[in-house]
Symmetry: C2
Subunit: 410 residues, 2 copies
């Protein structure tokens, strides 16, 4: 398979330059100028490859290479191109541009698909703007309803519905949901975002399971006051309650009994946020994941008990809102085996593994048989400017993906 | 003394309406549109009272009622009108508008001062914009040099020097410093910002000592990563290190051996501040105060030791920068006695107390004999929208202040 490794690397760099953060950092927030510019850039790339492009009502992009029997359920592949603040250039992007290069490699070798092949760029895999990840695939799978989506508001109070139409997406939100059986399969290529493949010197991870994420927003109401005048025993400092809760999240993950449990307080904001003011309010956002739902539920219960105890001891109110709480997904065993076959056919090494991170595949698995292939990234780093996957690693992923697409579309 | 209690209350309300936060909250950040509008409003009030107004190169306002022997050192009084985000309407303002009403009351009763009386509105008592409180009085007293002040930068990187000229302040920063002996005395009236007067049912607190504030900026550098993929033992989460340090600040204050020690982590910011990202960096701002310098220094040493231990255990870097570290001030005993005499003469009750909060008087005490008078405020609340001092409490403060000004200026 003649994947153009250098060309693929060049395209990844081109897309990385469309960013609101200076290089090497990449920031592309949903419906920001950069997100909109990246979409236009991507559409041009799809068109140049002879693919017909459709955009749905929320900005999910579908680039189709029609098969000779276009009435058959298509084979889908893809990922996302949005990026959290100060992220890197491979997360999501490798799976979108890797899929495009896989399609072009198949075209170059004269392959004529029987089933259509469709590359999907999902809207807003990252939860940055609305605090809810995988907006596009949640809507495609029906896990998120049109009415709920329309009501989502960002930190500045702007609605998802207003922003998507402002960004040029038209049509009803109800039209986004996919019908069952619309795809023969969905394959997502992605950087591992963990260190296992690199450490083991393995080219491809065939993902069997995707860890179950849950996200919580915690609002803490204490009492403000003057930092000089309010004596310590009288205080009801919301920030210190938040600090204790963040540490309790860490402890609940460390002591869950499973090395796979991870708990993160990624958002920590206080008000008034002034040096001479006792913090009156705090907002935390907590991400808790496990490959085992029961273990995760136990960790959640531990965190809730800690919140109750902190609230009582510090005389503050703590409200916990569930942003999302999704069940783990199993990948389709036939597809996982096929990925392993494709690695053998293309001379790549493979092992089976789980995905600790959260992907659009989690939701696509509800719609059609789904599998993921991981490629190694340096030190397992992700969501940071020095996230890195080598030219060779990305090219090997695209090669295996192309082989699997050929098997599925033939 | 015929202080117009209702008129004074009305003026406090008028000034509170000049705010970037909706009522009842008041926000007036240095050189914001609201701060500039408040200054214009105040100049008009001063002029209407027949006072001649001068503004120095950093926006300190001086409103002068000339005495019959204008060559004598003047009697000064005043406070500030800037307000932290979501503050109340009395902090600082009571001392500026109370002084103005005291002067008008003296004018109404036909008093002819021998010494000039000067009302000072100090620039930026609150540290919101530059992280350094009492900018105006620090410069007046020479504690802060012109070159240091010029270099100060706000969170958006804008310089103090650029902002003050943008706000219409002209002249050299070197011209701001007061010469020794320029004032006979400085008196500052202020809400207590603590509960003691209200609880005891006392009208006036005669302040003998102002607590010693120190402020620190802490920068923590950990390592970011994906919240789903980065396993717990491998993390170097900057936010959790910050959480532990904020709790250590509280503990150091609680266990200092003195009930007067207060320690506050009023600023707590993390990056990237995204729910699915392990925090890579954190910035804290810490305020530590005591009436006893040695006790405060011990608490600071405890916090620094905690930072070292957290940094080592969590494998993060913690840098601590001293923003300011000021010695406590003693009020002038002759002036404190005079305030007590004035309360007796005007039928008010008084007790002697310390100021736990930080005021322009701390710096004016380096330039001339200084004292403060406190008035009660509800529950001791301050730096919050429901900060409240009754019409009667403010009027009593203005009455005692007027009596003291008459004694000093006669």
């Amino acid at each position: 398979m003649n994947v153009d490794a250098a060309g693929l690397e060049r395209e990844i760099d081109e897309l990385a330059a469309i960013s609101s953060a200076p290089a090497p950092a990449v920031t592309r927030i949903l419906f920001s100028d950069e997100d909109i510019e990246a979409r236009a850039w991507l559409r041009a790339k799809f068109s140049a490859a002879g693919l017909s492009v459709r955009e749905d009502a929320v900005g999910n992009l579908f680039a189709r290479w029609p098969g000779s029997e276009p009435w058959l359920p298509a084979v889908a592949t893809g990922s996302h191109t949005d990026a959290i603040p100060n992220a890197g250039k491979f997360d999501g992007v490798a799976g979108v541009l890797g899929a495009l290069e896989a399609v072009r490699a198949l075209q170059r070798e004269g392959f004529r698909p029987r089933r259509s092949i469709e590359i999907i760029m999902f809207t807003a895999e990252e939860p940055t703007r609305f605090g809810l990840g995988c907006l596009g695939s949640r809507l495609l799978s029906g896990v998120l309803g049109a009415a709920e989506a329309a009501d989502l508001r960002d930190a500045e109070g702007r609605s998802f519905d207003g922003l998507r139409t402002g960004a040029g997406c038209s049509g009803s939100l109800d039209s986004v949901r996919l019908s069952a059986g619309c795809y023969r399969a969905f394959l997502e290529m992605h950087i591992e975002q963990g260190p296992l493949l690199e450490r083991a010197g393995i080219d491809i991870g065939a993902v069997e399971k995707i860890a179950a994420p849950a996200a919580f927003r915690v609002r803490i109401q204490g009492e403000g006051g003057h930092a000089g005048a309010l004596l310590m025993p009288a205080r009801r400092d919301a920030s210190l309650a938040a600090a204790e809760l963040a540490l309790a999240v860490e402890r609940a993950a460390l002591e869950s009994g499973s090395a796979d449990t991870v708990g993160t307080t990624g958002v920590f904001r206080i008000e008034p946020d002034a040096i001479n003011s006792v913090p009156a309010r705090a907002t935390l956002e907590i991400d808790l994941r496990d490959t085992n739902l029961a273990t995760r539920d136990r960790a959640e219960a531990t965190i809730r008990a800690a919140a109750d105890s902190i609230a009582e001891r510090r005389r503050v109110q703590i409200g916990i809102e569930v942003i999302n709480s999704d069940a783990p997904a199993n990948c389709d065993e036939e597809l996982v085996s096929m990925i392993c076959d494709s690695t053998a056919a293309t001379g790549c090494s493979v092992f089976r593994m789980i995905s600790r991170a959260y992907h659009d595949s989690l939701f696509m698995a509800r719609v059609c048989p789904t599998a993921m292939l991981f490629i190694p990234c340096r030190n397992g780093w992700s969501h940071r400017p020095d996230e890195f996957a080598s030219r060779e690693a990305v090219a090997k992923g695209a090669t295996v993906l192309a082989d699997a697409l050929r098997r599925l579309a033939a």
